[in-house]
């Protein structure tokens, strides 16, 4: 049993990985209590994660050995006999009435005694361990090594030399402090992000239906107590361990507990000695798939079977998300480059005859220059910002991985009802006086534009209002009409609201003309009749009728035109037919309306018999048609259009009728305007479907029954060949087949769903999206993302957000990495050419952790490029976060220009002070010798050691300032990857702040008195600030030209080699 159990699945989703101090967001390991949903086994291992799980279990085994004694103890405790008891015994044991449940006071008492029905969260990683991980993970190790080397060097110097320079000691301290501070910051960020994710979780509280004191009530799962009488139905999560007392077709999915994925039926009878095998127990945190059942709670919280196991399997190793893997990969590369360069130059400097102490100092310098110290903090901040932004946009993302995957989505399989549509029948069209009028179907329903002064309209409105069984629920006067809840079926409610809104109060109307008799709608009659007293003369009656239009017309011998009654003629019948077809073709549900003023013989008091009809049923007067539809959500067409331009195929999967499905698909743009399905074309050309070349047809409506007979090859063909696909009359199971089909084509599929039956599809999809309002708990568990507003448009927002974070991370990394080249090259040239060191270690840290920090973070605030939703989805296999193109751009191109800018400033400062470039080559040996105090410059002047060191540090300050200046340009070019900056604009205020901040910081470091002592930075002449500007301009122009070429030659060589 234990080996089947995998509670970690859910945890995996929330992990961003520990590899790396920046984004260790251990969302799974919450500090508070864990509600069953968090233990979420069913949403756990997606098939694709299976290989990892295997490895993980090995680790578990090791852990378990330690707890062996503990396990034995717990195994004993699992012995329970509740399943063997008869109902009477059960009732007695828990002193509970099997129909009325516990008394509320009693329940409260037990709750106080036993505590809430939650699992004690697994022992979370202690805070100090997390903190240490931040301190010693990732790049930190490299920097710690640097710091330790510094201390060692200092130690050796002190040992052999009475008067050591303190430089190494200071550098060591600075490095240690830097690592410590970035560690603290990452830790703080991580804590903050996990808080955000926790708050997400608390937004989907679990409810349980309990019966207490004879009353059904919805309570939070935490408040369920032992002895409670609970009712579960399909789609619910079992709130506690339950002994069933009655069940109707109840099936549960115990996969979370036993690993069996086949649903098992449950009934009240005792079937097996073993508690886990018997059929009359439902277990905490498993799912009820279908049917309903009632039972008595026999255990809650930690004492449930699941609770016992959970406490044993806590602290499982957790998997890594792709983005974490990518970052880990990237850290590896950078570390390898740093170590390789460091070690090879260590060897080189030893060969060149430097003392090994000097070589160690070079090594430290190279390591420090290679490691982008501030990058991890930047990435963490970027991800946190996205988490916040997603929450604001109604996308409850259960893990940040989902955001990133969502960004690479290439197919969205969407439900129709509720997601694409408003899930609310609304009157769309009216047809009377031989004219079609359109009703407003927007969610606000403010204006109705049709002939309200026609007499026909008055009669039509009265029929719709009176011959209607729907009613508003009480106490909703303050709500707008469209939002009020109603009783009655969807179309009647639609009519009710429509009349209330555009005519008058239906309530008053009904009071004035009370209903006397009625024949309700049934599927054989397909009509509904009600008889009312007439408003004008309350002595006579009027018969009102609505129903299927063709049925209604059959009863009519006359029709109304502008309030006048005319006898039925062929012309009218034809007009009727056309209108009926037109409205039906729009996928709308059409109802016909007619009436008959009953003669005086049926005056007040007449007993109408609806079973044996004793009133006239012919020669009615036809009034008009009203058609209804569940209208698309207003934002959906735009969202679908966005998807299309973003290269994302939207496939509608619905259980609805093909015509309705097609109409909505056309309405929202899934089938675009002007595109026709094979059927449309055949209708026009009057040829058989088979005669049409399928290549000419882009759109198709696939019927569920056809899908059933299709082989997967046929399905593949459809998915491949048609760009606009609607699946109608499908069963939820078929959704899974469709998702799989899409994945076979190599697509990244997002699927929406709300029902229990959708959860396999949600799990199978790369991104399962559950509905926050209508969705069942199970579907929410299975999903990676929950749409709080059920709105399709929010998915698209999510996609955009996912693409944006990926882009912005790329930009941020590109920006940060670029300055590595001007940081490394000084060291290399220092060693190779023997020139005075152009950039010191402290100055490098000033760049990485000082001036580069805010600008890099500001790129996370960069708004999307105009093409973000116009380009094809990311190919997760080939389009990596950090690819060779990005490295090529950052290191090979922009970085090189930056290095030149730095060196130019360096040479300018030296030359203007007397050391011309040509005289610098090989000068290093004397330059670094503190006993050479008469070093001659190009003009014959002689410099003491300290004098030339000050000059050297001034040069380093100049180099530093130059990097800041070229980083301006770098920041501006990193704003966009394809667009020109002129298209993108400079609207990112944080970015402008970043530029100002880095400039002020540089000036501060340069000019503050005392900096010469603290950081060895010296004031510069204004002219030296300007040296880098030509290079800054060059960077800008070069990149604009590059982007211009990329825009104008899509797919060209430059794009293939430099578009990161």
């Amino acid at each position: 049993m234990y080996s089947c159990l995998d509670l970690s699945g859910h945890v995996v989703l929330f992990e961003l990985g520990q590899l790396y101090p920046g984004i260790t967001m251990e969302f799974g390991k919450t500090r508070g209590r864990v509600t069953p949903q968090e233990l979420n086994p069913s949403s756990g291992p997606k098939p694709k994660r299976v290989p990892k799980m295997v490895g993980r279990r090995k680790k578990e085994k090791v852990k378990r050995k330690k707890n062996k004694a503990n396990i034995e103890e717990l195994k004993k405790e699992v012995v329970m006999d509740d399943h063997k008891l008869t109902l009477e015994e059960l009732s007695r044991r828990y002193s509970v009435d099997l129909t009325k449940g516990l008394r509320p006071e009693k329940a409260q008492e037990i709750l106080d005694r036993d505590g809430p029905n939650t699992l004690t969260p697994p022992p979370t990683t202690p805070e100090w361990v997390k903190f240490c991980k931040q301190l010693f993970g990732g790049f930190s190790i490299l920097l710690w090594t640097g710091a330790i080397l510094c201390f060692v060097a200092y130690g050796i110097q002190t040992y052999f030399n009475e008067e050591p320079t303190k430089d190494n000691l200071y550098l060591g301290i600075v490095l240690a402090v830097v690592v410590f501070i970035t560690g603290c910051f990452s830790y703080y960020q991580e804590a903050k992000s996990s808080k955000i994710m926790e708050s997400f979780k608390s937004m989907v509280p679990q409810q349980a239906l309990v019966i207490r004191g004879g009353e059904k009530m919805q309570i939070n799962v935490q408040n369920v107590v032992v002895g409670d009488l609970v009712e579960v139905k399909g789609g619910d999560r079992i709130p506690a361990d339950i002994r069933l007392i009655s069940a109707q077709g109840c099936k549960v999915d115990n996969s979370s507990l036993t690993g069996e994925s086949e649903p098992q039926s449950r009934f009240p009878h005792f079937t097996h000695e073993n508690l886990l095998e018997t059929r009359n127990i439902c277990f905490f945190s498993t799912n009820c798939v279908e049917g309903t059942a009632r039972g008595i709670v026999i255990a809650t919280g930690d004492s449930t079977v699941m609770g016992r196991i959970a406490s044993l399997t806590s602290g499982l190793a957790v998997g890594q998300t792709p983005i974490a893997t990518e970052i880990k990969h990237f850290i590896h590369i950078i570390t390898m480059v740093a170590v390789f360069l460091g070690v090879s130059f260590f060897g080189l400097s030893l060969m060149l005859g430097y003392s090994w102490l000097k070589a160690v100092i070079f090594l430290i310098g190279i390591i420090v220059a290679n490691v982008p110290e501030g990058l991890l903090v930047t990435v963490t901040v970027c991800l946190t910002l996205t988490a916040k932004r997603m929450a604001k946009k109604n996308c409850l993302v259960k893990n940040l991985e989902a955001v990133e995957t969502l960004g690479s989505t290439s197919i969205i399989c969407s439900d129709k009802t509720g997601t694409l549509t408003q899930n609310r029948m609304t009157v769309a069209h009216l047809w009377f006086d031989k004219t079609t009028y359109e009703a407003d179907t927007s969610e606000e329903q403010t204006v109705n534009t049709f002939a309200k002064d026609s007499d026909t309209w008055f009669i039509l409105a009265r029929i719709a209002g009176l011959c209607n069984r729907a009613d508003f629920k009480p106490d909703q006067e303050t709500l707008p009409i469209a939002k009020r809840a109603t009783t009655g079926d969807a179309s009647e409610s639609a009519l009710l609201k429509f009349i209330e809104q555009s005519y008058s109060s239906v309530k008053e109307m009904r009071e004035k003309s009370p209903k006397v008799a009625e024949i309700p709608f049934n599927s054989t009659n397909k009509y509904q009749i009600s008889i009312h007293l007439r408003e004008d003369s309350s002595q006579t009656h009027v018969l009102l009728m609505k129903g299927a239009p063709e049925r209604i017309l059959a009863f009519c011998s006359s029709y109304l035109l502008n309030g006048q009654e005319y006898s039925m003629d062929e012309e009218m019948k034809e007009a009727f037919q056309n209108a009926y077809l037109e409205l039906g073709g729009l996928g709308e549900r059409v109802l016909g309306f007619c009436f008959l003023n009953l003669p005086n013989t049926f005056s007040k008091g007449f007993k109408f018999n609806t079973d044996e009809v004793n009133f006239p049923m012919e020669n009615f007067c036809f009034v008009g048609l009203i058609s209804m539809i569940d209208p698309p959500r207003p934002a959906v067409p735009e969202a679908v259009c966005k998807c299309r331009s973003a290269g994302i195929k939207v496939i509608m999967v619905t259980g609805d009728h093909p015509i309705t499905a097609k109409a909505i698909a056309k309405g929202v743009g899934i089938i675009s305007e002007g595109t026709e399905t094979a059927e449309d074309t055949t209708a026009q050309l009057k040829v058989h479907v088979r005669q049409i070349d399928s290549r000419d047809v882009k759109a198709i409506v696939v019927h569920g029954s056809d899908l059933k007979d299709m082989s997967s090859a046929q399905l593949d063909e459809i998915l491949r060949n048609y760009t606009e696909i609607v699946f109608a009359r499908t069963s939820p199971q078929q959704k899974l087949i469709i998702v799989e089909g899409c994945q076979r084509q190599g697509n990244v599929v997002a699927a929406t769903g709300d029902g229990v039956n959708d959860s396999p599809a949600l799990k199978k999809a790369d991104i399962g999206i559950a509905m926050g309002i209508t969705g069942s708990d199970v579907s929410k568990q299975a999903a990676d993302m929950i749409l709080l507003d059920d709105n399709f448009a929010s998915i698209v927002t999510g996609v955009e957000e996912g693409r944006l974070i990926f882009d912005n991370l790329k930009k941020s990394i590109a920006y940060t990495l670029t300055s590595n080249i001007p940081e490394i090259t000084p060291f290399l040239l220092f060693i190779i050419l023997g020139i005075p060191l152009p950039l010191g270690t402290i100055t490098i840290l000033c760049i990485d952790l000082g001036t580069d920090m805010v600008p890099a973070i500001s790129l996370a605030y960069e708004s999307a490029e105009s093409d973000i939703m116009k380009r094809a989805p990311r190919d997760p296999k080939n389009d990596k976060l950090v690819n060779y193109r990005l490295i090529g751009m950052a290191y090979g191109q922009i970085g090189m220009i930056q290095a030149l800018a730095g060196f130019f400033t360096y040479f300018v400062i030296l030359a203007e002070n007397g050391f011309k470039p040509a005289d610098l080559l090989g000068i290093r040996h004397d330059w670094e010798n503190s006993y050479v105090n008469d070093l001659e410059d190009s003009y014959g002047q002689q410099w003491t050691f300290e004098q030339r060191k000050i000059l050297e540090f001034t040069c380093q300050t100049g180099f530093f300032v130059s990097i800041v200046i070229v980083q301006w340009a770098d920041l501006i070019i990193c704003k966009t990857r394809r667009n020109s900056v002129f298209q993108q604009g400079m609207k990112n205020k944080i970015l402008i702040f970043g530029i100002l901040e880095e400039t002020f910081l540089a000036a501060f470091l340069c000019y503050t008195p005392g900096m010469d002592m603290a950081l060895r930075m010296y004031p510069l002449k204004i002219f030296w600030w300007l040296c880098a500007i030509p290079y800054s301009i060059l960077i800008f122009i070069y990149d604009e030209v590059r982007k211009f070429a990329i825009r104008n030659h899509p797919g060209g060589w430059l794009e293939r080699e430099t578009y990161y």
Partner: protein, 277 residues
């Protein structure tokens, strides 16, 4: 996508081999010959352009420089002091009177250094009047003679061993050249020793004559000779220790600094002489 299969070592190697050279696509290190050619060409052109641009900016910058005088001289407002023989690792002279090999290096260094002060070499230099700054307007700049004889026993003329063989070693002190420096007052090198040793400075009093200032730079002021001051140490025969620490400072000129916390050589120099029997 999260799937990460463990690859066997062989598979790994095979992949590497394929990466090194893929015979089907004829790719070498993941690129075809043409692709390599293009990318290398791109970087060749790109770096060529950058090199040209860098050279151009450097050239332009060098054009703005004056060949005679550096643009800024504020980094060296005040000269440092330096001693000869040239110290290699530390300012610590140690020798044995009885062993000529132990001071040969010092003597050679001094001889070499004083070569440019040779009378023959100074023949064409101007004999300048003493005691005043010698400002020149050009276009030709002349250098003043420095009479080596003023160094007396340390001139190397009388004693080619510079006193090392007799136990009275000479150390030359010189002031760093700085273009345009005009010392105020009457600059002199003042040397003191803490231990009991007698110091003699030549020229007498360690005076540095103003006629050697200002210096006009290597290009204009060809064959310029720096004024020198020699310090000769005479150990008291009675003293047991033959070790002395000498501190020399510029004195008597208000604009020449001789005290700086960081720069131990700014207007001063400290050296140690250890003489073994």
């Amino acid at each position: 996508m999260t799937k990460k299969e463990k690859k066997s070592f062989n598979q790994c190697m095979a992949e590497w081999k394929l990466f090194l050279y893929n015979p089907t696509t004829r790719e070498f290190l993941g690129r075809t010959t043409k692709s390599w050619g293009l990318i290398l060409l791109f970087y060749l052109v790109f770096y060529g352009f950058l090199a040209a641009l860098f050279s151009f900016t450097m050239w332009a910058m060098l054009q703005t420089l004056n060949d005679e005088v550096p643009k800024y001289r504020d980094q060296i407002p005040s000269p440092g002091l330096m001693v000869f023989p040239k110290p290699v690792t530390a300012l610590d002279y140690s020798f044995r009177v009885s062993d000529p090999e132990s001071y040969r290096g010092y003597v050679d260094d001094l001889t070499k250094f004083l070569k440019s002060y040779d009378l023959e070499e100074q023949k064409n230099l101007t004999a300048c009047p003493d005691g005043a700054l010698r400002e020149q307007k050009g276009p030709t700049y002349t250098a003043c003679q420095f009479p080596v004889v003023s160094l007396k026993g340390c001139s190397g003329v009388e004693d080619p061993e510079f006193g090392y063989s007799t136990g009275n070693p000479c150390i030359l002190v010189k002031m760093n050249r700085i273009i345009g420096l005009k010392p105020q007052g009457k600059p002199r090198i003042n040397c003191i020793s803490k231990k009991t040793a007698t110091l003699s400075t030549y020229p007498s009093n360690g005076t540095i004559d103003l006629k050697y200032f200002p210096y006009y730079g290597k290009k204009l002021h060809v064959r310029y000779l720096q004024p020198l001051v020699a310090v000769q140490v005479a150990f008291n025969t009675t003293s047991t220790g033959k070790e002395v620490t000498v501190e020399c400072k510029i004195d008597g000129s208000p604009n020449l600094r001789n005290q700086d916390d960081r720069d131990k050589f700014l207007g001063r120099v400290v050296f140690k002489i250890t003489m073994h029997a």
